[in-house]
Amino acid sequence: MVPVSAYLIVAIVLFGIGTVGVLISRNMIVMFMCIELMLNAANLALIAFSRSLEVMDGHAFVFLVLTVAAAEAAVGLAIVLAIYRNRETINIDRFSILKW
């Protein structure tokens, strides 16, 4: 049997890739994909904990997180589309009208 720590290491690596991706990427779509990666890292950790502790709450949690991620994707892609229509770019560095 694979120990729970193996899953947690995979989860933390996925989370790290996602976080670094959000912070250094300049493309909206890539940033968005990295956020999905972070959510999936959390899902993996929840499932691993749930399996090793033998309580089912974590499984239920993951289903609801998947639903939330889908809702977020729907709203997020719509906003990306709206900004592409009036700026013709999805590079985050170009969205700098608002600054102090």
């Binding site: 968005f32 959390a42 974590g58 949690f61 609801l64 709203v75 709206a82 900004i83 102090w100």
Partner: protein, 501 residues
């Protein structure tokens, strides 16, 4: 084998269910009238919020859905704040509706109500799962609302910034929650407190994971609360998004973050003073962030030229003051936190309503627009000045009493426990930064009253916006002079979180 079904207690959820159905009704009404609903949709939304408030008054207390949903004093107090801020945000939106939003009135009001439903679920959640869902239900409609003027560059930019930051922070929060779940084996907040203590005493080496979990959760909710260093989105989003939405973000969304923070940390991780639970010492971390919020918010606000950005920075500073009440972790601190957000609702929603009225007339949010406004629009200038003075904390307004109780709670915590001597410093810095705050609030009052030239603009009021101004004014004076009823109600928050006075 006997199997006990969890008790649903659906009646406890009556306000949320009603408001959700009402929001669907408004969207349907707007479509059925072929987008010609004019102001009726807005009045329907206001009526729905008032009826929900009435239902909330008749809802009892208790647990439902297998302890996932709880209706107690803390939940009710915050639900009143959410309903009030949604009411005042919708009330101040009628001018923008007439000018800019012609075809999507139903969606605008519907989304505000959906977000309010999410906040109400959040304040009633008793465990991590429903708390996370409530928080997402709160923020996802707000992403759309921030980007509501989809042909306006500023609004769409505000929407995209809010979306990236909001989604990123919810991922951080979720990862932190997964660790808390792994350490405790439960999602129930009260059980979590016990289980983490047991796990900690059994395996001595969970400190690192617990600290990681605490940092991730503080970061995740810190984004919603706009605590530095997670605050950069606030001024941008406030400036870009429609003014009523910015107002709703600054009070409703912030109160939602506050109750989520209090639930996880005070209810779920309270083992704050226990010497065996040293890794659980989140108080110092949050105190540092609160100091950063007070200093940064109050100093950067001084040099803003856009009034919505200035109110954004001021709201960062206000959260810093509120966090003193949570860090103090005593009965007075919890009550003061509730009273502060209550007073802040009247002052900030009123200030944003005044900004919305001026924006409808002049189309500008620059502070220079306000120069000489007192001679042409005395009522607006006077009420706006009262709101700003309350935000600064001048007696006899409610903002002063709120700050007074918050500081008293900090001092009390420091006297009570020698390990918390740093609370004196926290309160001292808070008092000092209040002085900076008076400077930039007074600057606007100076612009309005002491300019040489009278303003070329004369504002016109519509009935709902005028009502919002008067509600704010009445709230600040009444609860500034006579705060006891609210304070008495708010003192129930402490017992909801298991703090015995």
């Amino acid at each position: 084998m006997e199997f006990a079904f969890p008790e649903y207690n659906l009646r406890l959820m009556a306000p949320e269910i009603f408001l959700f159905l009402w929001a669907l009704l408004i969207i349907a009404y707007d479509v059925l009238t072929k987008r010609k609903s004019e102001t009726t949709a807005g009045y329907l939304a206001l009526a729905g919020l008032m009826i929900t408030g009435l239902i909330l008054g008749f809802t009892g207390t208790g647990h439902g859905f297998g302890n996932m949903f709880v209706s107690d004093t803390a939940a009710k107090f915050f639900k009143i704040i959410f309903l009030g801020s949604a009411f005042m945000a919708i009330g101040s939106s009628f001018g923008i509706m007439r000018e800019k939003i012609v075809n999507h009135r139903g969606e605008f009001y519907g989304l505000i109500l959906f977000s309010t439903v999410g906040m109400m679920f959040l304040s009633s959640s008793n465990e991590l799962l429903s708390l996370y869902i409530g928080l997402e239900l709160t923020t996802i409609p707000l992403f759309v609302l921030a980007a509501f003027f989809k042909d306006d560059k500023l609004s769409v930019e505000a929407g995209i910034k809010y979306f990236i930051v909001g989604a990123f922070s919810s991922a951080l929060l979720l990862y932190g929650i997964s660790f808390l779940y792994g350490l405790s084996g439960t999602t129930d907040l009260v059980q979590m407190k016990i289980n983490i203590a047991i796990t900690h005493l059994t395996f001595q080496n969970i400190g690192v994971i617990l600290i990681l979990a605490i940092v991730l959760v503080v970061a995740g909710i810190g984004f919603k609360l706009s605590l530095p260093p997670f605050h950069q989105w606030v001024p941008d989003v406030y400036q870009g998004s429609p003014t009523p939405v910015a107002a709703f973000l600054s009070v409703g969304s912030k109160a939602a973050g506050l109750i989520a923070f209090a639930k996880i940390f005070v209810n779920g991780l309270f083992a704050f003073h226990h010497p065996d639970m040293a890794p659980n010492d989140w108080g110092r971390l949050v105190a540092l962030l609160a100091v950063a919020a007070m200093i940064l918010g109050n100093t950067v606000a001084i040099r803003q030229t856009n009034i919505k950005r200035m109110l954004g920075y001021s709201s960062i500073a206000q959260v810093g003051y509120i966090m003193i009440g949570i860090v103090a972790m005593n009965a007075l601190g919890m009550a003061a936190m509730g009273f502060y957000i209550f007073a802040y609702m009247f002052a900030n929603m009123g200030a944003f309503a005044a900004v919305a009225i001026v924006e409808d007339k002049t189309g500008s949010c620059e502070i220079s627009t306000y120069s000489g406004l007192a001679r042409t629009s005395p009522l607006l200038s006077a009420t706006f000045a009262v709101f700003l003075l309350s935000l600064a904390g001048i007696p006899p307004l409610a903002g002063f009493m709120a700050k007074f109780y918050i500081f008293a709670a900090g001092i009390q915590a420091a006297q009570h426990d020698p390990g918390l001597y740093w609370m004196y410093w926290l309160v001292g810095i808070a008092l000092l930064t209040t002085v900076f705050a008076i400077y930039y609030y007074a600057n606007i009052i100076k612009q309005m009253y002491f300019a040489k030239e009278p303003s070329p603009h004369k504002v016109t009021y519509n009935f709902p916006a005028l009502t919002v101004l008067l509600i704010g004014l009445a709230g600040l004076f009444v609860f500034g002079i006579y705060p006891e009823p609210v304070l008495h109600f708010a003192s129930g928050i402490a017992s909801s979180f298991g703090i015995i006075p």
